[in-house]
């Protein structure tokens, strides 16, 4: 992207998006700051310094815009956020999957609803404080491994990336903080946000029970024998070991893990660790950062945020993406994204994990 383009900087009130906006302005772009109000009730989302949707965050974003010297507005995206992210999050858990709401927010809010509105209003790009590198229209991992957010951006299409700007990808977080301080941005030492912004308490299981209701059922082993009970299958995630509340120990005394979550049947299946090993993953709703691959592609697959990468071959068959892993992997949760990287850390594309196949060949 050339210089002097009209940039809409999404400003959460945190340090990253503030520095990103400042860098975009320094680069000579015509920058306007926008804080997205995502909560139907601004008081209700996480309070204190860690959140992204509180009144205090809106104020922090406004003050950063003042210091940078750019116009600032608040856009009400609460309805879209609720429908596209919060309701989706609930639906996914209710279906026994483990969604990633940050990824959905990027896919459907920041680089969809916000980007569409911005483009219609005459902006050329949406700038965020995500840690990722955009080079010649391609998306790469950030230099700061610990902060890299290319995974939650892996869902963006080439068209979306063409209107995106991520000024922080070449910088380490510590240096971003130092830069914020140099620039006189008061958010320089504001703590990072870690939890899900719309679950103020951080207690995802409790939040789900409040909304999906109590749906008690059995915890069963692979033979179908009842080994315990639960208040709602949706509160479990494949690969989970703790908090299973099992009443009967495994015959061999070894720890057991969640193998499958079936909220409709109200069952949670547990079993030994090796039963978690899968070597084939089928993803749906593929998204491509460039042209979709025609042939099977050698790549590295990442299966959860900040997770390890695994050598794999990915092959597109209609709307389904099959990812065959060179070596088995444990605890792959349907609902999460599989993001494919090339050897040079370039994002190739992604899909939402629909089902997995055990190393032995049986569907989990």
């Amino acid at each position: 992207m050339g210089t002097n383009v009209r940039v809409l900087a999404a400003m959460s009130g945190g340090v990253d998006s503030a520095v990103a906006a400042a860098r975009a302005a320094d680069a000579g772009h015509d920058v306007t700051g926008v804080h997205l109000a995502l909560s139907r009730n601004p008081q209700s989302y996480r309070s204190g310094a860690r959140g992204c949707c509180t009144l205090e965050d809106a104020r922090d974003a406004r003050r950063a815009a003042d210091v940078i010297g750019i116009p600032f507005y608040v856009w009400d995206m609460a309805e879209q956020f609720h429908t596209s992210v919060v309701d989706d999050f609930l639906d996914e858990y209710a279906a026994g999957r483990t969604p990633n709401p940050c990824l959905r927010c990027n896919e459907r809010i920041k680089f969809a609803a916000v980007l569409d509105k911005a483009v219609a209003l005459g902006f050329d790009a949406v700038c965020t404080g995500h840690y990722a590198i955009l080079r010649d229209g391609a998306l790469y991992r950030a230099v700061d491994d610990g902060k890299d957010q290319s995974y939650v951006l892996g869902v963006l299409t080439a068209e979306q990336l063409a209107h995106a700007m991520f000024p922080l990808g070449d910088t380490r977080k510590a240096d971003v903080r130092a830069e914020a301080s140099r620039r006189g941005l008061a958010v320089a030492d504001k703590p990072d946000s870690h939890d899900i912004c719309f679950i103020p308490s951080g207690d995802t299981a409790g939040w789900l029970v409040d909304r999906l209701g109590c749906a008690p059922g059995d915890v069963v082993d692979e033979s179908g024998a009842v080994v315990g009970g639960h208040d709602g299958a949706y509160a479990f995630t494949v690969g989970q070991r703790r908090g299973l509340g099992l009443t009967r120990p495994a015959p061999d005394g070894r720890p057991r893990y969640v193998l499958a979550v079936r909220p409709v049947e109200r069952t949670v299946t547990v079993g030994p660790r090796e039963a978690l090993r899968v070597d084939r993953i089928v993803g749906v709703r593929p998204r491509w950062a460039g042209r979709p691959p025609v042939d099977a592609v050698r790549c590295r697959a990442q299966l959860r945020a900040h997770g390890e990468v695994h050598r794999a071959v990915a092959e597109l068959d209609g709307d389904e993406l099959t990812v065959s892993l060179d070596a088995p992997v444990e605890g792959v949760a349907p609902g999460q994204a599989v993001v494919l990287y090339a050897d040079d850390e370039r994002v190739i594309g992604s899909a939402t994990i629909d089902r997995t196949y055990r190393a032995a060949g049986m569907s989990v």
Partner: protein
């Protein structure tokens, strides 16, 4: 730049700046008994007299406050508490459905916390309180009504309310009436005594005075329970150190405004009519909200809905062209809520969200109208594209 948001706040008049700054450097609490205290008190009392003169009241009826919000709270809560204390049945509070939040939220608080029954008085399609509804509401059981509160002129759509008729209806049952005239005082012939009102809200910064000075003009025989307790400086109805500098600026502004008000109203109405005509020329499907009869609305007020557009998109685009207006709606965290005034007038939520207020004042000129006329067409075109984008389900 074209500043078209005088209803939010208007530039201070030079006479007001001079009057305020002259006092800022002087010491003396107006409640102190010594010489500098008396000198400051003299400024307060001269300001009170000038305000009373300007608004057709007696000096003893002017209760200084920190502004319109405090005066509205004092009127609504203060009258309610006193009326209920005198007769426990009087729990109904009748307020226009399109009142400013300073009245609406004070009434809502009384309802939530104090057992009041708040009855919003319905508006007609141009934003005027329906007198038949008020008459019916009063007649249902006049003995249980605490007070009536209706704006002199609506702050969003500019509709002038039938204050005299409202007072007549309520006073037939001995029920006190309050009116918030913060928007009206600078442009209309607002006179307290002839209005028959029991309480009237004024504020400085809407008429060219400083922010932070206001008044509740209150009949001497009106019984009002204080909201703020302390030194009892203002008739024991309002406490807080008297702000001689602010009141001096407030009074100077009102004096100057009243002297030129009739001519200025004609000038603003002419400019406003031109603004309305040119906006409708540029955007033929724009809809003028409020009273289409220019005589029925504030001379400086124009308020439109732009179908298919969001007000906040239009504001952003006009702001970038140095044209400054308002979505005319309440804010929480800077998020625009659909205007309760337009909703009460029967507008859809979509129409309410797609509206802008342009308000003229003493510094407004033809050039401001030119700037708006030039910018509004392209802004509406862009904003309507964004409106469509925002509603596309992704």
């Amino acid at each position: 730049m074209a500043y078209l948001d005088h209803a939010a706040t208007t530039p201070m008049l030079p006479a007001a700046i001079a009057a305020t700054t002259a006092e800022l450097g002087r010491v003396g609490n107006p409640s102190s008994l010594h010489t500098p205290g008396r000198a400051a008190r003299r400024v307060v009392e001269e300001s009170r007299e000038a305000l009373a003169e300007g608004v057709g009241a007696r000096p003893g009826e002017v209760v200084f406050t920190s502004g319109g919000t405090e005066a509205d709270n004092l009127a609504v809560k203060g009258l309610y508490w006193s009326r209920v204390a005198a007769d426990g049945r009087r729990r109904r509070v009748l307020v226009g459905a399109g009142e400013h939040h300073a009245v609406l939220d004070a009434a809502a608080w009384l309802s939530r916390e104090q057992g009041a029954q708040v009855e919003p008085l319905p508006l007609d399609a141009v934003g005027r309180v329906r007198l038949d509804a008020l008459a019916e509401s009063l007649a249902r059981d006049p003995g249980d009504v605490a007070l009536v509160s209706v704006l002199w002129a609506n702050n969003e759509v500019g509709t002038i309310q039938p204050v005299a008729e409202i007072v007549e209806l309520a006073h037939a049952y001995g029920i006190p009436v309050h009116s918030d005239a913060v928007q009206a005082a600078g442009q209309l012939d607002v006179r307290f005594a002839t209005s028959g009102l029991d309480a009237l809200t004024l504020t400085g910064h809407k008429i060219g005075g400083p922010v932070g000075a206001g008044a509740l003009v209150l009949r001497r025989d009106a019984d009002v329970t204080p909201v703020l307790h302390g030194g009892g400086q203002e008739r024991d109805v309002r406490s807080g150190t008297l702000d001689a500098a602010a009141y001096a600026g407030f009074a100077a502004a009102l004096t100057e405004v009243v002297a030129g008000r009739a001519d200025e109203a004609v000038r603003l109405a002419g400019l406003r009519d031109e603004l309305v005509r040119r906006v409708l020329d540029a955007v033929p499907d724009a809809e003028l909200n409020g009273d289409p009869d220019p005589a029925g609305r504030l001379p400086g007020n124009a308020h439109f809905s732009f179908p298919g557009c969001e007000g906040d998109s239009l504001l952003l685009l006009l702001d970038a062209r140095d044209v400054f207006c308002s979505t005319g709606s309440a804010c929480s965290a800077g998020v625009a809520e659909p205007s309760h005034v337009l909703l009460a007038m029967g507008a859809s939520e979509e129409r309410a969200r797609g509206s802008l207020r342009f308000s003229l004042g003493h510094t407004s000129t033809e050039a401001d109208v030119d700037a708006l006329a030039e910018a509004i067409g392209p802004a509406v075109e862009r904003a309507s594209r964004a409106g469509v984008a925002a509603h596309r389900v992704s």
